[in-house]
Amino acid sequence: MTSLPRPTRRDALRLGAGGSALGALALTAGCGSEPAAGDARALRIAQKSEPTGLDPHLESGLDGMNVLINIFDTLTMRDSSNELVPRLATSWEAVDEHRWRFHLREGVTFHNGESFDAASVKFSIERLIDPATESTIIELRAVDHVEIVDEHTVDIVMADPDPVIPEKVSLFGGVMLPPGYLEDVGDEEFAAQPVGTGPFRFVSWRKAQLLRLEANAEHWNGRPAFDELHFTAMPNPASALAGIQSDVVDMVSALDPEAALQLEGYKDVALDKYPGIRMYFVVLDTEHEILRDERVRRALNHAVDVPLLIEAVLNDSGREAATIVPQEAFGYVPDIPPPERDPDLARELLAEAGHADGIELRFTSSNKEQLVCEALAGMLGDVGVTLDLELLEPGTFAERLESDDPSSLGSMYLTGSTGWTLDGGATLQSYIRSDRRRSRIRSDHADALMDTIEQTIDPDTRLEALQEMQQWLHDEAPFLFLYQADLDFATNGEITWEPNVNGTLAMETAR
């Protein structure tokens, strides 16, 4: 007699779901069919947090920006293939080192009927950089002022050269505000009833509950397919998952890999995985008495099997990295290979550096990355590197990360960094130059390269510097290179939409 296959836990759950669905059906059968809640087609989105406010100049968090980017248009934009494309600016060019010229789209109006023109750009950018605004958006710090050339042309005039201005006005710094409306109602009322040129208009916001937007039929790029967007903050991944399974929301953004794993195999839940731009790496203190030796740093890189880490811990939600520059960024060098994952080689290098008996290092991270840290500790332990692992509450970790005291994070720390401008310099800038607080590198050569990357307008020169920098990183190994995380979305399977690599929830193209 052949034995039946043993039922798995998932089968049991499905069986339970089937049975209880019948029960629920019986319960609701008596109630008659309820009319749909209005004919409007709403897209209900859950993310971890909601905006802290609706003034786009005061919002530097991505979750807040995910809402605001639907109300406000930016000068430029990243499309779903990550190209920088026109938005409210139709074209742009560097006039000289201190001047970026933007040609503006004509016939665009704000939600209140006010028309968008050069004066709106001047007002918006100068409001952002005005210290009185107290903006936490710092990307436009090199801008001095804006000059109106004609009604549909502006010059952004720089105090210091910045080659990445067109990229930087594709998100946070690039939103366009209506000067007339702001003058009429003031900052506070503007933040309560924001008006932009975007594909959706603001309707209402009940804090910690629901933020509603409606389609802007007059949008210059056409009316969006969805009639309404609903944003809800669901900080707890378990309730977000329950939300999608119980049809409280249609889409959950930015799922943790382990949360995504729980959803696999459920009916009516689709898991969508897209390449993301967030880089994860371990910063090694190159001044530390042991890590000062480049052989030790290379040994650490050889000891960690990143493909295995991605498979086992991240549920395949990531791509192995050979650098801290994301693959989609300007200046990424594809032909530098990731360090060979070879524990024997690691042991050899450690012995060569005089540490045949093993070493001990203090390793700090946010407790959000606990699983990754434990995997790292295991793999490094195999070659004789004992980690004194310190997992910190995220707020405490962030505070130490910005602290003036580099020793507060020990000899190495794990970090994640999102360079949303998609420029190779974005991640590098906080971790390489010796005067940056997150940097644990003291190298004149690297500093000089960073200056070229940060201040040269000419793309070819920058590209060269970026390439040289990545080669230097490969040789010197001041980091333990890990991975570039994917973006995990869960939907009810009825939504067609594709994010760019930043994962921003611009829902204009959702169907």
Binding site: M234, S246, G395
Partner: protein, 340 residues
């Protein structure tokens, strides 16, 4: 922060659980003046407690880190950090910030939230209704279920009914609320789809979070009531009632429950505090737009003014509840009332 000392069910609960100067077992010999003075002393000591609580929070929150580190993006340079600190007033000496905070407190001005850039008082006011509703519903469930369970168990002491009820209650007391919450969501929200898994607005939304929140309190109160009832039911006046032929239900309702309620009221007051603490977790699980979620946001962003504001709220609630508990003795127990 929550305090719920689980009363030992075997020891006879006494009025010692009250911190009041007006103890019901030793009514003051004199007068209204005495009561008034006691109330005043009580009020002053409450203010002292409040001051201590906010001072501890002030010190601890500042020791825990710099909010600017989280407000500004990673590529901010030191000048921008310094500028933001100056804007937020965080560069001033700690003692100045502290006195400023205390001064504001007196005027009921808790400052502006660093994260939301709105007055702390209005942020808190927005969230109070949701939390109050949740706590009230949980308290109602606690009172109804715990009184039923405790009375049944006491009347059927030592039987299978008693053991079953108290066993169920013990399970409730030893199960973490977040776990119960997740189970309830999975069962009623995801599988059966009869109740909303998250959200706020209708009575249906209230059922799961209030139940989750009430489970621990139900257990504590039911066990206490059972032992308290058992003690009272052995007293002379109850024996007399029985001797006169009163039935068990009449003995319970007419002669025992009122007396047995005294210690329960004290614990209910403490439980209300525990409910507020528990709301932080429950609100997180059920996406409930109350003070609990606001507090978590405030703590994780090192939003000092907002953390201080929520702590003031919690402290004031505790203090007020304690006062109300003491007052309620006078209403329930005639021995306290007669002296006034």
């Amino acid at each position: 922060m929550s305090t719920s000392p689980a009363p030992s069910p075997s020891s006879a609960p006494s009025a010692e659980t009250s911190t009041a100067t007006t103890s019901p077992t030793s009514p003051a010999p004199s007068s209204r003046r005495h009561l008034l003075r006691a109330a005043l002393t009580r009020l002053l000591s409450s203010l002292g407690v409040l001051w201590a609580a906010v001072t501890v929070v002030f010190v601890l929150s500042r020791a825990s880190g710099d909010p600017v580190a989280q407000l500004l993006p990673e590529n901010a340079n030191p000048e921008q950090v310094a500028q933001m600190q100056a804007t937020l007033g965080l560069d001033r000496p700690l003692i100045v910030q502290y006195l400023d905070f205390l001064g504001g407190l007196v005027r009921l001005d808790l400052g502006d939230s660093l994260l939301y850039r709105e007055p702390v008082t209005s942020l808190i006011a927005e969230r109070i209704p949701a939390t109050a509703l949740l706590a009230a519903a949980a308290l109602l469930i606690t009172v109804v279920v715990a009184f039923l369970a405790g009375s049944i168990a006491a009347m059927r002491r030592g039987t299978g009914v008693d053991r079953t009820v108290m066993g169920a209650v013990l399970v409730g007391q030893s199960t973490p609320a977040f776990w119960v919450g997740i189970l309830l969501v999975l069962l009623f929200g995801v599988q059966l789809r009869v109740l909303p898994a998250a959200g706020y607005g209708t009575l249906a939304h209230l059922v799961l979070p209030a139940t989750t929140l009430a489970i621990f309190s139900v257990a504590v109160v039911a066990r206490l009531l059972r032992s308290s009832l058992i003690e009272v039911m052995g007293q002379d006046h109850v024996r007399t009632a029985r001797a006169k032929g009163a039935g068990e239900v009449r003995v319970l309702l007419g002669h025992s429950l009122r007396n047995a309620s005294m210690p329960v009221i004290t614990v209910l007051g403490l439980e209300l505090g525990a409910l507020l603490g528990g709301a932080i977790l429950t609100e997180q699980i059920f996406n409930w737009p109350g003070i609990g979620r606001l507090t978590i946001d405030a703590i994780s962003f090192r939003d000092f003014p907002l953390v201080q504001g929520t702590v003031v709220l919690f402290a004031v609630t505790f203090i007020v509840v304690n006062l109300l508990v003491d007052l309620s003795y006078a209403i329930i127990d005639p021995r306290v009332r007669t002296e006034a």
